[in-house]
Symmetry: C2
Subunit: 408 residues, 2 copies
Amino acid sequence: MINGSAVEVNGRRYAAPKQPTVVFCIDGCEPDYIAQAVAGGHMPHLKRVLSDGTALLADCVVPSFTNPNNLSIVTGAPPSVHGICGNTLFDVEANEEVLMNDPKWLRAPSILAAVADIGQSVAVVTAKDKLRRLLGHKLRGICFSAEKADQATQQENGIDEVVSLVGMPVPDVYSAELSEFVFAAGVKLIQRQRPDLLYLSTTDYVQHKHAPGDERANRFYAMFDRYLGELDTLGAVFVVTADHGMNAKTRLDASPNVIYLQDLIDDWLGRERARVILPITDPYVVHHGALGSFATIYLNASDVAGVIEKLRALMGVEVVLPRAEAAHRFELPADRIGDVVVVSERSFVLGTSRSRHDLSQLELPLRSHGGISEQRVPLIVNRRIEGLDANRRWRNFDAFDLALNYAQ
Amino acid sequence: MINGSAVEVNGRRYAAPKQPTVVFCIDGCEPDYIAQAVAGGHMPHLKRVLSDGTALLADCVVPSFTNPNNLSIVTGAPPSVHGICGNTLFDVEANEEVLMNDPKWLRAPSILAAVADIGQSVAVVTAKDKLRRLLGHKLRGICFSAEKADQATQQENGIDEVVSLVGMPVPDVYSAELSEFVFAAGVKLIQRQRPDLLYLSTTDYVQHKHAPGDERANRFYAMFDRYLGELDTLGAVFVVTADHGMNAKTRLDASPNVIYLQDLIDDWLGRERARVILPITDPYVVHHGALGSFATIYLNASDVAGVIEKLRALMGVEVVLPRAEAAHRFELPADRIGDVVVVSERSFVLGTSRSRHDLSQLELPLRSHGGISEQRVPLIVNRRIEGLDANRRWRNFDAFDLALNYAQ
């Protein structure tokens, strides 16, 4: 806290909101989803915002996954600061892979908690519950997920009776409606409780299934646009950004275009010499079969150089870096990534062993993320901000800076 | 010529075809077009080929434009060998931009002409006439375009009465039917004249307009698939590759995402100090408004380093190289590119001056090509070839090598 009208969080200063302010993290929002929906006439409100407000392209954090990027947005800092470098982490001490949903992994406070601490009202709504505890850590305010909206209590979530407030049944965790519930809840909160600061984070169910311009993708963005229109009418400032983009990841025959790293390395070194970790892994694998474009590998120091050389020769591998270089380039906590970091190209994903991926539930050609190829995301503000440098490397975690320091 | 059963062209040896052999250059065939069409059930014949034959991903030539890549495919060599480094060239001596459609710019013989010279029958069908003279240079055989099919004569094209042979009217130059005419002509030629070697090159009208998975794109590939099925039935060997991929090139508001290089450089150096050349330019600019992801710049030697530094700082610029480095990296003829080569990122295109681009005819969000982001293309053979190294960097100009040396 600086004083009652501003906070300092992770080295950046944020003014307290003067009007209801909403930051959206639209999961998997490859910029082309917006362009195609606008071109098709499905986003009249956002079209006006793009013309009259501020429209930037920004880089998200690599790995371009949900947890690291949501935490970057709400802390205004990269994973080297906040510590959340994947959905999954290899806990070296426990010798097991663990979900990074527990706040014990967090190393930095959030802007949300800091703004609440100076007496502003703050609310957070997420689609899936996996993010709720991280985003709501030390937050004195409202924080609930659409997934478990019917279980929200004053004590745990700072709110109850969410389902009747929103006026929608709790949606299936695999549905477009899970995100709509987030939007609807946001608008109702602004109407009823008028929080000062609101963070809304959706799920990429639609984006994993449908490409930009697809009718079902356009329908999702048309729905989003109606809520944006309502927020505009309510006088809210909003910023729209994303945790990551999304690309098709298939072979010519439409099967998943997987490089099975564990199989390859076992073949090179012998079994049990290396452990491939896929930090995209979360409890919701139906979308992507735990296949993304980023992997880390734990292995013996003497094997690092040789494995890096072999990996770099593979078709579809974009970048292979040893731990320190990867931590530097991608601003990751060096103690939480493997000895080697691998990023695959736009149309490729990285797997462990062929036998460990159940792809039977993938109904459609694989679309996924995690790599540098999914780094570009929208950064849109419904207020015109003069004098911004479009050639600056904007980050999705500049969202609160724009919202609170420039758009009020 | 080596002897009656093989030729050597540009340092590579090719066996004469033992059965009718067709090489397809599907203009603008981003690999995902095939994946999405296969997934949607629109390409049953190709689906079988992908399973039973050979399916590779290959890199095309950068600039990922039509002329350089068609010439690379038919010469089996990069532009540093064949000399065609764009659709347009800046003729330094004449101080003007000229179309590179004249065979005088060609520096290497084609595989097609060489195979014809050993007594094999060879035929070439292109969609647009712009390529016909280059592809047919010194070719003793059939060579005509769909665009001017009604004007084909025995003397000029080695064939007449094309329209009645094909049984389709001459299509509009801006249509999907222009490519269908090429396929239909190919099948009719195989049925009636059974040429030994056939090269079929289409237009990217559909790909400039519609994304992979779009209904109209799928319809195009379904049409293509029917002709592939006919060729399979006729016992032909075929190889399918492409001149380049295709990506959306728009801002969030769906307007073309252009970096106007001439305006920027005029601003930095003053007017008339530099000349930006867009080698995508051809007489058919409705598709793309002459906007692609590759440009070269002619300027004074003393300005090169400064301009390179400034260009590298621009959002959306992927690679900026001085002439010699660009010629080396992209295998281009150093004497025919500018002092600086610029490649933009996947969602960006490069323009000259804002006032010189007429974008009024662009009906749909811009899709274009030219960059490294459009370098991956399919390389498919309807015969199983054992022992190929999938991690080798395959090129689209390996198509005739696969067709003639491996698939017979």
